[in-house]
């Protein structure tokens, strides 16, 4: 077999999972000649774990991806089976949308979109080697010895890179869902000087629908009407499925504890670090010994399949133990396990070696996204893919780096966390990771990011016009609410008393009424007679802005403070060891993580306030010297 030259690209994306897809679409849409490589064309956009998109904080990410012109939200809408807005009643900051999706359809729709995208070539090939050429471009070699030359490369290998599946005592090299893994690329990266490490994740069994006694189980319905992810989706139609809830019991626990020594994790076979946030059932049982039962959700994998996903029940115990313990669960007594649960271990890198653009600091033109970077989750992956794709394209086009800061988005928070704090376990997004969560809501992702998406060139003119119209309507309605007085009436006071809030004498501004937590647009409808006929999304924005005004103002002030530190840029080439005054630990951390600015530096653990002060002084001194030299 001999090497042959197969083509030139601006951007080459390795992996066609959720990260790779967004990366390739963004790069191609920005005009770059793009290739996306996948080991198996039938694995594009696969959801090897839960058949759902979104969830707490992840729903925020999907909305943000959509607001920037990404694809995940739209495709999830097209393939949705059931929509639920989680955390209703807990406050708008933590509302999060989750869609149960038709898993196969999602893949088909996504793949087709990729196929239809201009500038984008889809190629089934395993990349076995990457090397940087003298001119800065990259050569990618496939298993078939085809060689491609690309100006930039985005690695989005998910759990395929050095993938190894564990089921009890059995283990074998494999990617997810039995697709073969990427066996050679990891070694190639290590040779290049990029160390890798092992992370682990897992998935529960899929069981046959007709063998589950669904009638005996609690039902979880979707929202009526279902709300879409995408600001482009006008309406969704009705929910198509329900989910079911069941619980483990003492018997489940006993079986698991009796066999715990056969778990590869507890038996010491798995070296990879698993996520605390998404533990296997045996993890939960060992760590929360006194908990009597654990909840599980039974979710359909699609409309054209009988496979059902057992959310919360991932495991790496031997197959026969799995059968035993799944059968202890009410409703699953006779369940046929179609695919066993498994744990999968894979190679990933230390994200603190990357810039906020997701480019490796030491390898110009080489980017990473998704699980490869140490995150977990489809949404986290897609978010990084989008940012890496935009930046790779910008690099090719000679445009500025594109960075979202923590105050702009969950996407920015996710990336900032990864590159400054690193990941000791697969990183999952949570609302509590954002200190600005009252302003970074899923309901205002468009307001925050669509102007940026438009400027990038990822938002169409039509959508931009719709966006501006929405913002105009919000402003107008806000004005109306501030200037409308609701006259005192029996009806009004009846409403107020029924909502347990104090009645009024004389008229009251609509604005003042909406401020009260007990009241909302809906309950005031009858007395707000001049209310224009507007979409609920408009009312939602106005109501949140009024109710949370004080808190929002406060958070904006915090953002202001934070941004002052973010603009104090640290030079890329400084050797922190030469800065006297810095403590040793800080010198080492700063040299390793190389923060782009003072704000990032201040978030690195091990860099103390005193160290930051040294940096500030040094920066100021440096800029003074510079000015002096320039004057001379």
């Amino acid at each position: 077999m001999s090497i042959y030259f197969a083509g030139n690209y601006d951007v080459a994306v390795i992996g066609a999972g959720h990260a790779g897809i967004e990366a390739a679409l963004a790069a191609a849409r920005l005009g770059c000649k793009t290739a996306i490589f996948t080991i198996n064309m039938d694995a594009v956009g696969n959801c090897p774990c839960n058949p759902s998109i979104g969830g707490t904080a992840k729903g925020h990410l999907v909305r943000e991806i959509d607001a920037l012109g990404g694809e995940m939200g739209k495709t999830a809408d097209e393939c949705f089976l059931q929509m639920r807005m989680l955390n209703l009643g807990k406050g708008p900051a933590v509302h999060s949308l989750r869609a149960q999706i038709d898993r196969r359809k999602y893949q088909d729709v996504m793949k087709h979109k990729l196929e239809l995208t201009d500038n984008l070539d889809m190629r089934q090939a395993e990349i076995t080697d990457i090397e940087q050429n003298n001119d800065g471009t990259w050569t990618l070699t496939t298993r078939m010895l085809a060689q491609f030359v690309a100006k930039t490369v985005i690695i989005a290998t998910g759990t395929y890179l050095g993938g190894k599946i564990f089921i009890g005592e059995v283990s074998y090299e494999s990617g997810p869902d039995g697709v073969f893994p990427a066996t050679f690329l990891g070694e190639s990266l290590r040779k290049l000087g990029i160390p890798t490490r092992r992370f682990k994740t897992g998935t529960p069994a899929r069981v046959k629908r007709s063998t589950i006694d669904l009638d005996s189980l609690e039902v979880q319905e979707g929202d009526v009407p279902p709300v879409p992810f995408s600001y482009d989706t006008e309406s969704l139609g009705e929910n198509k499925v329900v989910c079911h809830i069941s619980y483990t019991n003492e018997n489940t626990k006993k079986i698991i504890l009796d066999n715990i020594h056969r778990s590869p994790l507890y038996g010491g076979k798995i070296e990879g670090v698993g996520p605390r946030y998404c533990p296997s059932l045996e993890d939960k049982i060992v760590r929360f010994e006194h908990k009597e039962r654990h909840q599980l959700f039974i979710e359909p994998c699609g409309l054209d399949t009988e496979e059902m996903y057992l959310q919360g029940m991932s495991s790496s115990l031997p197959e026969e133990v799995q059968i035993q313990f799944y059968h202890t669960i009410p409703g699953l007594e006779n369940a046929l396990i179609m695919r066993p649960a498994y744990a999968i271990e894979y190679d990933c890198i230390d994200p603190t070696t990357m810039n906020a653009t997701l480019e490796f600091r030491d390898f110009s033109g080489l980017y990473g996204a998704g699980q490869f970077n140490g995150s977990s989750g489809y949404e986290e992956a897609a978010a990084q893919g989008l940012i890496a794709g935009i930046n790779a394209a910008h690099k090719v086009m000679g445009k500025d780096e594109f960075v979202l800061d923590r105050a702009s988005s969950y996407i920015g928070t996710l990336i900032d966390d990864l590159i400054t704090k690193g990941a000791n376990e697969p990183y999952r997004m949570m609302t509590s990771r954002s200190e600005y969560r009252l302003i970074l809501r899923q309901d205002n992702a468009d307001e925050r990011l669509t102007p940026i998406g438009y400027e990038l060139g990822l938002i169409s003119k039509e959508r931009w016009a719709r966006f501006n119209e929405k913002q105009r309507l919000i402003k107008e309605e806000m004005k109306r609410v501030k200037h409308t007085t609701i006259p005192s009436s029996e009806k009004l006071n009846e409403i107020l008393v029924s909502r347990e809030t104090s009645p009024v004498e004389g008229g009251i501004r609509l604005f003042e009424l909406l401020k009260r937590p007990q009241l909302n647009y809906k309950v005031l409808q009858e007395v707000d007679i001049l209310r224009p006929d507007l979409p609920d999304a408009i009312f939602e924005q106005v109501e949140i802005a009024i109710k949370y005004e004080g808190y929002i103002k406060k958070q904006l002030a915090q953002v202001e403070q934070m941004r002052k530190l973010e603009v104090k840029t640290l030079p890329a080439d400084v050797d922190y060891k030469t800065l006297s005054g810095l403590r040793l630990e800080a010198q080492e951390k700063l040299n390793r993580i190389r923060p782009a600015n003072i704000g990032q530096a201040s978030r690195i653990s091990g860099v103390s306030p005193a160290d930051i002060s040294v940096l500030l002084i040094w920066l100021a001194k440096r800029s003074q010297e510079k000015t002096t030299t320039e004057v001379e």
Binding site: T56, A57, L86, N87, G89, K90, G91, P92, A93, V94, K291, H294, Q295, F297, G312, M430, T431, S432, E435, R437, L438, R516, P517, Q518, K547, Y548, Y551, K554, Q555, Q561, K564, L565, S580, G581, R583, S602, R603, V607, S608, P609, A610, I612, S613, V614, L616, I617, W618, A620, K621, Q624, E625
Partner: protein
Amino acid sequence: MENLTIAAISTALGQGGIGVIRISGEDAVKIADKVFKKVSGELLCDAKGYTAHFGYVYHNNEKIDECVATVFRAPHSYTGEDVVEFSCHGGVYITKTVLRTVLDNGAVIAQSGEFTKRAFLNGKLDLTQAEAVMDIIGAKSSAAAKSALSVHEGALSLKINEVKDELVNRAAHLCAWADYPEEDIPEIEFEALINAIKESSYKLSDLLNNYDRGKAIREGIDTVIVGRPNVGKSTLMNLIAGCDKSIVTDIAGTTRDIVEETAIVKDITLHLSDTAGIRDADNAIEKIGVDKAKKRLLSAELVIAVFDASTKLCDDDLDLLSQLNGTNCIAVINKEDLDNKIDIEKIKEVTDHIVFMSAKNSTGFSDFEDAVEKIAGTDKFDSSSAVLCNERQRSLAKNAFESLSEAISALEFGMTYDAVTVALEESISYLCELTGERVTETVVDNVFHSFCVGK
């Protein structure tokens, strides 16, 4: 944080004639306008740089002192920022009250050397000085690493951590509850949550209330000895201070100015001022002394009023008594060894702390000591208890307390828990800042410790 407006007393703390409070930063003039009213009614906002303005400083609509405000406009000031300097009457009490008013209106307390640091960062100092600053940081951090925590600081961080841990637990529950809605996280119980937050806020408010009491131990009490001429003030002062500083004669009016002394009574430091006897003076020089004494009486934290047991209360005594209302006062009935003719009931109307003694014979002094201890609140003060040690800690504890008050009112108002969580986390971050766990420039700037405040 950088660019916050800072303030500090920039003259030596003590009984100087003038005390200067310096405010520097973007909002310096705005904050100054909130506490200072020009006699002419004009606003400082409209004032040009290098101008001085006469007016009054107010605390909650109450006049604190007359004062001259000097306005400097950026970059033509010491720090290179907008600066307002209030020159008011000297004395610990007045300058500190003015400072606190300024802080309560939006400024944050300047750390040692912070004005200098800003001056440097704004290009007002040269490189040599920059190098010096670097050295100080280095020296300071290694010194800090070596130095053991004082008893008070140790107790304080225990106390703060106790409050913080409770709040962190609550916040963590709220976060888990929001982040894992389908994972059997226990529901948030409103009563338990609000009670826990209230409990923490009481603890902080205790700390804040103890601040003044704790301050008595650390910084000493600004004390003035008053009384009509020749009741034995100077003798008493000498007894307390243990040396002859005042000119003691039998001629009324010998002490013509304020004499200062620092003495320690039962571990409490008293900054003593002996004053000219308060009476209707006919001598011009003596009159100045008397006026000063009257003023000092108002600004002092502790007043020791001396009366002569051997004579009836005269007009000057009665006049003095009328001025003692509302002060922290110990009435010393001196010369108890002589015939007792004084009308004690009149004095009881003004203060509960009455001590009979003879300064000359040193009798009754232990009663006096007990009274000082009582009035300084230190008889119940456990020296190992948690104490906020300085204005920085006080203002952080106050911010943390206010954030908790906000969380409580959000809960009571019926706001959703996401808003409550934000207030709660804000409070935690202030407490972390207090214990030095959070990286913010406010904490950072403490390393400039070795520079004298205000320069």
